[in-house]
Amino acid sequence: MDSTYINEIRRQFPILNQQVYGKPLVYLDNAATTQKPLCVIDRERDYYLHENCNIHRGVHYLSQMATEAYENARRTVAAFIHAAAPHDIVFTRGTTESLNLLASSLGQLLIEENDKVLISAMEHHSNLVPWQQMLRQKKGQLLVCPMDDNGVLDLQRYETLLDEKPRIVSIAHISNTLGTINPIKEMIGMAHKHGIPVIVDGAQSIAHHYIDVQSLDCDFFVFSGHKMYAPMGIGGLYGKSDWLEKMPPYQFGGEMVDQVSFEATTFNKLPFKFEAGTPNVGAALGLESAVRFIESLDRNQIEAYESALLQRAVEQLSEIEGLRFIGQAAKRSGLVSFVIDGIHPYDLGTIIDKMGVAVRTGHHCAEPVMTRFGIPGTVRASFALYNTMEEVDVFVKAVKKAAAMLR
């Protein structure tokens, strides 16, 4: 890909153009959160400058306009992931809230005593703890699909675990620690053969890969705006309407009710049933703007470019003595995780930070993955479309220098 094109994109992210400790910032913590293009930042600002209002049920002009803008944002997001209808999209605060909503609401609908839920060994805490805690209350059991030393899920074990009749399967599309792209389409098909609904945690995939929830045929797909160039405080839960219709509401109050008396309450229709309280209209418009930003790009090229960034990082890091990659699946995306013999990730992260390189160190909210590999944590560099090949080089150089200091 043409570096002029990348530089053009990069210019839309003012934060990247800064120095830390007198060094140019090399931001490689995109799996934690991405930076925001000006169009997104300005969309939210414009909303507060000209359009801000509480929505739904207001008859006045501003309220009408804001309501329409918010519902348009829903349509945009629905189209982006190819949902069958806008009301299949529930706006939430993000992936964690979406998964908690599902653990609670789908849990109420499907989980009886002794029932099981199947997740994988590489889940983020947000796709583990909600299920674990819900199952504890219901005296149920968490099944965990194991992975091999490369960070690849064992599909044979997955099949046998499905035989144990879990009521729900919830799987990361892409691991935030290993970068593994899971074969979710296949996994969904396998689960459906057993009549089990599947939730896909798309936190790490939505910014980087084309998503078609209908072609995947997943029952739910959850994601965070802040990991796809949108503001914090907004995210989504896609669900097939059949499920969403059947599920009880999660939080109560505001627009989600239909009629209320002290004795009883009836609930609003989809998607409002799941959106309690004043919605975050400004952030939803920011999310819409982020979607439009992504759609304005040549997505195939961007995907190829991001994969080239990763490739280069992997190649160059391989030269470092004692470096061990954590996660070596053939199908990987977006990030590289590693440890270096005798060097604590915290130390490495601290030193390269001083060189302007921002990576994440630690367990990345996936402690069981660390336990699995017997390590205290990893160094993780994660990429976005505005990163350059030069930044990869600076990063690898920094790692080499730090390793020399620390050894």
Partner: protein, 142 residues
């Protein structure tokens, strides 16, 4: 008169007035003066709950044509209902299903049919179309 002709007539009536005040005044007059539905239909079964205003709707088929009656507790809503009833009542199911609602835009009332308005009008309109469709199916079966 065809649906189109009735709509054109309404647009012409309203076009006499330049400003919204006069148009709304006319709508309010219409809303006030027309007893639109028999009291026996003002029950929960015929209620469409619009949160801000309530709408009652009934429909019947006579000689291949649909006759609607409707009402609301809010007078502006009622005025618009009157216009819709005038347009659709006495038409065949097919004509109703094929019709176009652009005339509401032309007289500056489109916003009232927004899904976000929660006055029950849009739900009523959807319900009218469902009736038309149901009647059409009945007809086709014969």
């Amino acid at each position: 008169m065809t649906i189109k002709e009735i709509q054109d007539a309404i647009v012409e009536d309203f076009s006499m007035f330049d400003d919204w005040m006069d148009r709304y005044a006319m709508l309010i007059e219409i809303g006030k003066e027309c007893p639109l539905i028999d009291d026996k239909y003002r029950d929960d079964k015929h209620l469409i709950n619009g949160c801000q205003s309530r709408v009652w709707l009934s429909a019947e088929m006579k000689d291949g044509k649909v006759y609607f009656a409707a009402d609301s507790d809010a007078v502006i809503t009622k005025g618009i209902i009157y216009l819709l009833i005038k347009v659709f009542s006495g038409q065949t199911p097919s004509d109703i299903l094929d019709s176009d609602l652009g005339f509401l835009d032309k007289i500056g009332l489109k916003e009232h049919l927004s899904p976000t308005r929660s006055n029950g009008l849009l739900s009523m309109l959807k319900q009218m179309m469902l009736y038309a469709e149901a009647f059409k199916l009945q007809e086709d079966k014969k």
